[in-house]
């Protein structure tokens, strides 16, 4: 499996992760309350995590590596993981507009 591209969309994983986090921030009940703690890096709200991913900052790269690790080790599929962020059933991800463009 080539993790660098979404297996369904054949788009760079970075793009589909950004899109999923955008939806996560939209639907999150507290997007400006810290959601993730990283010892030595700090606390990050959902909105900050979205910015970190977009900017490919150290924390954004860490989050992408965390996703890659889980997917490559087959703890979860990328579609399933993205659906958790988006608050949708996994199959719905396949029909998301960005994926239909392919």
């Amino acid at each position: 499996m080539n993790f660098r591209h979404s297996p369904k969309a054949q788009r760079p994983v970075h793009e589909v992760v950004v899109q999923a986090l955008e939806k996560w921030v939209e639907r999150h009940p507290n997007p400006d309350v810290p959601a993730m703690s990283i010892a030595t890096s700090g606390q990050f709200t959902p909105r900050q995590l979205l910015h970190e991913i977009r900017d490919r900052s150290d924390t954004g790269l860490l989050l992408e590596e965390m996703i890659e690790t889980a997917v490559v080790k087959q703890a979860v599929t990328l579609d399933e993981l993205l659906s958790w962020f988006e608050g949708e059933e996994p199959n719905a991800v396949h029909d998301a507009p960005i994926l239909r463009q392919i």
């Binding site: 810290p34 993730m36 010892a39 606390q43």
Partner: protein, 205 residues
């Protein structure tokens, strides 16, 4: 009875949260009859001179705070690094911190006589505030096991098992319904995959 040095600088929000996890070990140690918290260097008392003076006198160091591959950090100061880790020779170190098992742990065991080092090789992450009560019990299960007669191997096995339970909680358990399920799952899986024990797994406190 063995004695532990507890170091928890609590020098910012993340370290304060980790420090609060460590506080729970005090009561457990008091009740265990096996291990006591001989010294608790918390907040402002977690200074380099205090750590240097204390390190040789305890069978184990439990550190809860910030770390890098080569250091365990306090408020603007390196509390444990390659220049003083030999003071813990013949003893064990448990570092609930980022990354320190990567280099400091290896150096401690292989070049400075530390019996065993349990920690993380990469960043340590969790859901802020641990609202589902998952990460604190999992991360602290190792130190708890050591307080209760366990070996370093036992401590590692408990942390692995408990972190897997956290993964399951967010993947397919009650945690899946929470807004931060993906972060919880990713953090627990990441931590599980970067937990490392270096040195003598049979060591007990």
């Amino acid at each position: 009875m063995s004695s532990i040095l507890l170091v928890r600088p609590a020098n910012n929000a993340v370290a304060i949260e980790l420090s609060s996890w460590a506080a729970g070990l005090r009561n457990l140690a008091a009740a265990s009859g096996h291990v006591s918290i001989g010294s608790d260097l918390a907040s402002g008392s977690a200074t380099r001179p205090a750590v240097d003076a204390a390190l040789p006198g305890y069978e184990g160091l439990f550190f809860f705070g910030h770390g890098t591959p080569t250091k365990l950090l306090g408020a603007g100061v390196d509390l444990v690094d390659t220049s003083n880790v030999a003071l813990a020779a013949n003893h064990a170190i448990v570092a609930i911190a980022c990354s320190s098992a990567d280099t400091l742990g290896q150096t401690a065991v292989h070049q400075n006589g530390v019996e065993a080092y349990l920690g993380f090789t990469r960043k340590l992450t969790w859901v802020t505030g641990d609202p589902d009560g998952q990460f604190e019990p999992a991360i602290c299960s190792g130190p708890r096991r050591l307080i209760q007669y366990g070996t370093m191997n036992d401590a590692l096995a408990d942390m692995q098992s408990e972190l897997q339970n956290v993964v399951n909680h967010y993947h397919s358990g009650a945690g899946k319904a929470t807004a931060n399920a993906a972060i919880g799952f990713l953090s627990a899986f990441w931590d599980l995959n970067h937990l490392a024990l270096i040195g003598n797994g049979s060591y007990t406190l």
